[in-house]
């Protein structure tokens, strides 16, 4: 598999994860920052390799085989991100582009040893699950901070948007994975939330709250 093929497989995986079902040519083209005609070409190549099912005008869907490939690439991406943060002191907003390159390195031994070095992590620095060799990964019950009722608490476990801009914004507000957040009040006017983290009380916009995952805490 070429880098490009791997990137398409990963793209198809992420898009079918979000909107279930098959992925349209245009959607994939937008995601890959390329033209629909290029996508059609590539889809045909991937279909030839049995990595996707493709019928003209019907969009693409990963085959079992394609899905496993996708998960293996995602596994590498997330292990490398974890490595960069844990071992090389990268900030969580600095890892994405480098991991995009590292995920294409071909060596099973490398991946296995890296996994061991990191002590077999279940989640990456953004809270996303790291699939194992067979593509299996842990899911956890999480909800958007935006959907946490007043008085309820949750532990910050992940982000929807993992852009550097958003992550830096969280840093600036002193919000990190692992933090316990209590919703004090919901402002109906702009959907902003008054929250408490540790001893600090402050307000976060709806935009922030709907991009942060929390694991609800019973209380």
């Amino acid at each position: 598999m070429t880098h490009s093929e791997e990137n398409y497989i990963k793209g198809i995986y992420h898009l079918s994860e979000a909107g279930a079902g098959s992925v349209s040519t245009t959607t994939l083209a937008t995601h890959m920052e390329t033209k629909p005609s290029s996508v059609t070409d590539m889809i045909k190549r991937l279909a030839g390799k049995e990595l996707v099912n493709y019928k003209k005008y019907q969009g693409v869907r990963l085959t079992e085989q394609g899905q496993l490939k996708a998960l293996q690439i995602i596994r590498k991406h997330r292990l490398w991100e974890t490595f960069l943060v844990e071992k090389l002191d990268f900030n969580w907003d600095e890892v994405h582009e480098v991991a995009e390159q590292l995920e294409h390195i071909k060596s099973d031994m490398l991946v296995d040893r890296l996994d061991a070095l990191l002590d077999y992590p279940d989640y990456d620095p953004h809270g996303d699950p790291i699939p194992d060799k067979d593509g299996a990964f842990k899911t956890r019950d999480k909800k958007l901070l935006a959907n946490l009722g007043p008085g309820k608490s949750g532990q910050c476990v992940g982000v929807v948007d993992s852009s550097a801009a958003y992550l830096k914004f969280l840093d600036k507000h002193g919000i990190a994975l692992g933090d316990s957040i209590t919703v004090l009040e919901r402002e109906e006017f702009d959907q902003s939330l008054k929250i408490r983290i540790g001893t600090r009380n402050f307000s976060v916009s709806q935009r922030i709250a709907s991009n942060l995952y929390v694991k609800p805490i019973e209380n």
Copy 2:
């Protein structure tokens, strides 16, 4: 720079290091496992980027700029090899192919942090020097074991041939970098050497002895 361009630059560097002066198309083609015509094409591209000096039928030579690029790639290659051995428990005969891939990853931050994680090593697992950011590296006075006179001792510091076959052969004979070797006797008939490592006395072929570097020890 594409991966291919980087590989050519590195190839030219290694070949001009060995046989000084300019590198011929055929020599480079053999080294790159490709055809002379492909080399000519690539050389023109590199000349266009001011990385090599090229005059038809006269071979190539790296420019100042090209040389620095080569050393930066070699730096990455050797840092990654060191990482694989030191942190991921690879054997020194298992690192080459993976490092060939990793050397193309583009991120100055990654290289700097990796260097720090490894505590700024001067030499890689094969005893080759690791250039710094500016391409500078340590040289040491070393000679071939084959050229060490009877009664003289040396510390094993590097290999000429770093193929897996040779390295495994050294492993099998219990010869490792850092070992102190004393030449007991030179067999004129086949140029083999009787040597002592620790308390073990044994004989090594001329082939082995002329691929092992030692740092002479005064005695």
